[in-house]
Symmetry: C2
Subunit: 323 residues, 2 copies
């Protein structure tokens, strides 16, 4: 059973909170706290056996668990304030392992100006790091998945394919030229959440919908299409040059890496066309990037156009529990 | 390494949030949200191999995970509003298991008027249920561990010993007369959080300090003593009659069950002596119980007095990771 099927079953059993400000299935959850303000909440769990590739240190694993959660706040344009951590630790855990995990958690949080304020620990067979993130936001300001309109510009904050290529290197012990290897592998071991970009874009008022790309570019596009009831044409696939080079060297389809890889933490956004310059300017001011990759369409299909030919982008991506 | 040692190591590595409204180590964490109000946050993780005894259904395990968290809110007098769930699920999990877990989570939340508003799932070797709870409270109203003063009345919301006795029955397959068995085992399988008592007592203004008893009566008393810089004399140990009966039948020390058992979700409170009647009345109105069991002392020892003799209550209790 796939992760998404499981989530669907579970959600079907939950009573809906009245006036739920953000629906199930968006990147974060929310709760009204009065005066048009929301408490923004997110939980995301890292489990060593599926989320920690060979070669990743405990410090990196702990930091990655933080980044996974921060990235969802970034996609909504919400500043994270505080973090809780539930740690499941194997029985034979050493004191130095615990210190390394604690440092990774703290440094991950501080990198994005948040603090760890509490948590819990227990014995588990795997290393489990479950993080909950908290922040507040004005209800009218949160960037949801559901606001994209036909004619909006489709944009991303960075290139795709490096983390999936790096993951192949780590998992299958694939060779690569040293400098290339480092770029690809680092994108797996030291992912970054696009928080400053997300906050700046939210303030620009130019964004109609947003999502983070951790489930893969293809899957995330389909999620926004579903939530906004629109479609996309991608006419400029943002493949990272390093991923392209790696794909060429190893006879891998670079499009496959960029579209269906996942575990990347870019933001995917739809921008109101008359405010495109404002969005670009907002991102430039925080020294980020914004690349136009396509257009929002009224027709509910997700397509890629290359050399004048259109093909369907499939609704698949990175998923745990795949059998 | 014990759970408390691990927590100590971890906390030592965290940068402290400035003006942290509730210190590390209290039952909940908090974050200022303006106008003297706090976001109250709690995470507590249930792991099948240490927290789910034989005989406990998945529905009960999911509900217990909720109750563990609600109980900490109850001890602070804070109403829980919303809940996030991170679920670690074994690879071979069945659809009906997932539905049972979802129902337990939802029914646990609704029992205490809260809603599940989001979550995450991933593959893990054990069943892991990590819950995060959210609510808001006026900063001045939260009942902390640190406010007890010499002369205050020490009180609890119920009797102790049944869950530890029930756990012995489940873990070691011990015989007990059918009716007795049911009471003891149900206290393990269907624990209750004292939320209405906690909310009523907070509103009464009579409480100087509070904690929940999930780590055991003895340990929890030591925690309040440490946080409030005081001591206790317990002169009336609140042993449940069923636990007493079970202890007698099986030649177990009933005091051991009541003091050092743990996994019970009563509230332990210190009450301003001049407001004792108000506290009693507040609890009676919500059909709860409040039992006076001792006194807060200036001397920083935790003692029990029986037949005019005083003995030390040891700082030990229920703990995972014990080797």
């Amino acid at each position: 059973m796939g992760e998404r099927k499981i989530i669907e079953i579970i959600q079907g059993h939950f009573d809906l909170m009245p006036k739920m400000p953000i629906p199930f299935g968006d990147d974060v959850s929310a709760c009204n706290i009065g005066n048009g303000n929301l408490a923004i909440l997110k939980t995301d769990m890292l489990v060593s056996k599926t989320d920690v590739p060979p070669g990743m240190t405990l410090w990196q694993a702990a930091r990655k668990a933080v980044v996974m959660n921060i990235s969802d706040f970034a996609a909504k344009g919400v500043k994270p304030k505080a973090m809780l951590v539930s740690l499941g630790l194997p029985k034979d855990v050493r004191e130095e392992d615990i210190m390394e995990l604690a440092r990774g958690l703290n440094e991950g949080a501080r990198e994005y100006d948040a603090y760890v304020i509490g948590g819990d620990t227990g014995e588990a067979s795997d290393l489990v790091i479950s993080i909950s993130l908290f922040g507040t936001a004005a209800k009218s300001e949160v960037m949801l998945r559901s606001g994209a309109r036909p004619g909006d510009v489709l944009a991303v904050t960075g290139f795709f394919g490096n983390a999936p290529a790096g993951l192949k290197i780590l998992l299958h012990n694939i060779d690569a030229q040293e400098k290339l290897r480092k770029v690809l592998v680092d994108s797996v071991l030291l992912p970054r959440a696009r928080l400053k970009e997300g906050l700046a874009l939210r303030r620009s008022g130019a964004i109609s919908a947003a999502i983070d790309s951790s489930d893969g570019l293809a899957w995330s596009l389909h999620e926004v299409a579903k939530a906004s009831n629109i479609g996309f044409t991608v006419d400029k696939l943002p493949i990272a040059p390093e991923a392209e080079r790696f794909a060429e060297d190893h006879d891998i389809d670079p499009e496959e890496l960029a579209l269906y890889g996942g575990e990347e933490y870019e933001l995917i956004l739809t921008v109101k066309p008359n405010l495109w310059a404002a969005a670009e300017e907002a991102v430039r001011r925080v020294r980020g990037s914004l690349f136009r990759i396509g257009t929002v369409e009224a027709k509910k299909t997700v397509l890629i156009e290359t050399d004048g030919k259109r093909r369907v982008i499939q609704p698949r991506g990175y998923e745990h529990f795949k059998s």
